[in-house]
Symmetry: C2
Subunit: 147 residues, 2 copies
C-alpha cells in the first residue's frame, strides 16, 4: 500500500520549507537535499503555491516559504489534496461491486486512516526541527523573509 509519489514529494517540500522557519528556499536546494528530481518537484511546488500552502517570492533573492503557519496546515487536508484518488482496489471495473462487502469495509478502513491524519498539522511533524535541519546538512543561510 502506497501513497502517490506526488503526495510524498508534497510532504517533503512542506517539511523542508517548514524546517526553514520562514526563510526562503529554492526548488534546486530542496531537490538537492532530498536527492530527487528538480523537474518533479517543480510541478508539486507550483501546485502547493496555487493551493495556498506555499508562498512564492520572485526575483534573484526569491524562493518559497510556507504561506501560513505550520500549525494551520492539516496533514489530512494536504494528503486529500495531493492524492489523485482513494480507490484502494479497482472496484470501478469489478462486476460484483454493487453487492460486494469489500467496498464498504475498505471505505471504513480508509476513513479511519484519514481520521488519524486529520488530527495532525505540519507543526506536529516538525517537533524535531533542529535535528531535521542537521540531517539536511548545511542549509543555506537564513534569508530575510520578504513581505
Amino acid at each position: 500500500m502506497r501513497l502517490t509519489r506526488y503526495t510524498d514529494y508534497a510532504m517533503r517540500v512542506l517539511l523542508y520549507v517548514g524546517a526553514r522557519d520562514g526563510a526562503l528556499s529554492s526548488i534546486a536546494e530542496i531537490a538537492k537535499a532530498y536527492g530527487i528530481s528538480q523537474n518533479h518537484l517543480m510541478k508539486v511546488v507550483n501546485d502547493l503555491v496555487r493551493a495556498g500552502y506555499l508562498a512564492s517570492v520572485r526575483g534573484r533573492f526569491g524562493g518559497i516559504r510556507l504561506a501560513r503557519p505550520a500549525d494551520t496546515i492539516n496533514v489530512g487536508a494536504v494528503v486529500r489534496h495531493s492524492e489523485e484518488g482513494f480507490e484502494l482496489v479497482d472496484c470501478a471495473s469489478c462486476v460484483i461491486a454493487p453487492a460486494c462487502g469489500l467496498t464498504g469495509v475498505l471505505g471504513e478502513a480508509l476513513a479511519a486512516f484519514m481520521a488519524v491524519l486529520d488530527r495532525y498539522t505540519l507543526a506536529d511533524l516538525l517537533t524535531k526541527r533542529d535535528a531535521m535541519a542537521a540531517l539536511f546538512g548545511e542549509m543555506p543561510s537564513k534569508a530575510i523573509a520578504e513581505a
Copy 2:
C-alpha cells in the same frame, strides 16, 4: 492511495470462491467472470493455496475452493499476506527520516486502517452472496465438492 493489484486479485478470488459456497471453481472461470488475465490469477491462486486459504483439487473435475470456512478468513490477515510492504511513502530513501514526524503519523494511520480490516472476515464480505452470484452471471453448475 492504492493496494497492490496482487491484493485486489487475491480478494477477488476469495470472494468468487466464497460465493460458490463449497463448489469447485476453475481459474479460467474466475478470470472470465472478472474480465482479468488468467496468467496473473494463476500466481495469486497458487499463493493462496500455499498460504492455506484455498484448497486445490486436481483432475478433470478439479478446481479450487476455500480451504476453511469464510468466517475464519480474516480480511486484515489476507491483506497483510498479499501486500508486499506498507511503506506509504519512501522514507527509506529520505535523509530526514530519523527526525521526521511523518513516519510516526503514517504508522499510526496505517494501524487504524488495518485495525478496521482485522475486524472483518470473508464471511462479512459475502452477506449479499446471492446478489454477487447473480452479478457473476451464470456460474457453472455446482460441482460435488470432493473430499
